[in-house]
Point group: C2
């Protein structure tokens, strides 16, 4: 979910800014205005993946391990919003292998559109993720401090 | 919704292939294995936007006006899946203007992260849509006939 991504990004920026102490999930919950169960789930994920150290749990506290420049935005996106495994529910036509065996009147379009649309969606998603992979959290902080940084970077390309 | 996009694409390919006659929404419904209310909604949208002619409605029939090469995949994507108007529900921190006025202890991160994430999501979405705009339905038909066409086109870039 996209909110998970925002929570991960905001949490890491906050931990980085307060790196002289451990930050509780309660403090993050108040700052981000997100319930603390969600905070703990996301921080647990970041802990498992080597972004933060500390104790996970109700009375836990977290501290950043990496620098902002070491945190790739695309990697955080992939971690919090995994790619769609199957596009089947978005595709028209044939719905099962069983049906395929019984179907004799189908044209090339019906036989192949599922594969074609799956490829199109998959390639578009790879391209979308590559966009986020261009940036680190240091870039993101640049945009927070000087709004319009992302827009300028894209315009320069 | 992504299924709307698939229905639009599949319908236009089917109409193009059977352009010697008008196709009823019932026939499309059977071929695409999608309920006929959805077919009529999507075909009505395509009719309004100049892709097909014919009578919309329960006993309607449609015929393609454009060639496949004239149908841009990105335009069909934008038509069936309009861009997100607000990312507010995906963003952490401040939740209302009222709150902004009362808040005095907030740091630069909390003040500006909503704008920064909105920009990031908006730019990523523009990039995502640009991917689809590279192709027409003639390309899509190429992939149906020679699967792997999209993958090769991307690899060549």
């Amino acid at each position: 979910m996209r909110l998970d991504f925002s929570v991960a990004v905001h949490s890491l920026l906050y931990l980085d800014q307060n790196n002289d102490r451990r930050i509780s999930s309660r403090e993050l919950s108040e700052k981000l205005k997100v319930n603390s169960v969600m905070i703990r789930n996301i921080l647990s994920l970041l802990h498992k993946n080597g972004y933060v150290k500390g104790n996970v749990g109700k009375n836990g506290g977290y501290q950043m391990i990496l620098s902002l420049a070491q945190c790739n935005v695309g990697e955080l996106y992939d971690l919090t919003i995994p790619p769609t495994i199957s596009y089947a529910r978005f595709i028209t036509g044939k719905t099962s292998l069983l049906e395929e065996e019984n179907e004799t009147h189908e044209t090339e379009i019906e036989s192949n559109i599922a594969e074609t649309l799956t490829d199109l969606f998959t390639l578009a998603d790879q391209d979308y993720r590559a966009f986020y992979h261009q940036f680190t959290l240091a870039d993101l902080k640049q945009d927070i401090e000087h709004h319009g940084y992302f827009q300028r970077k894209i315009d320069e390309q």
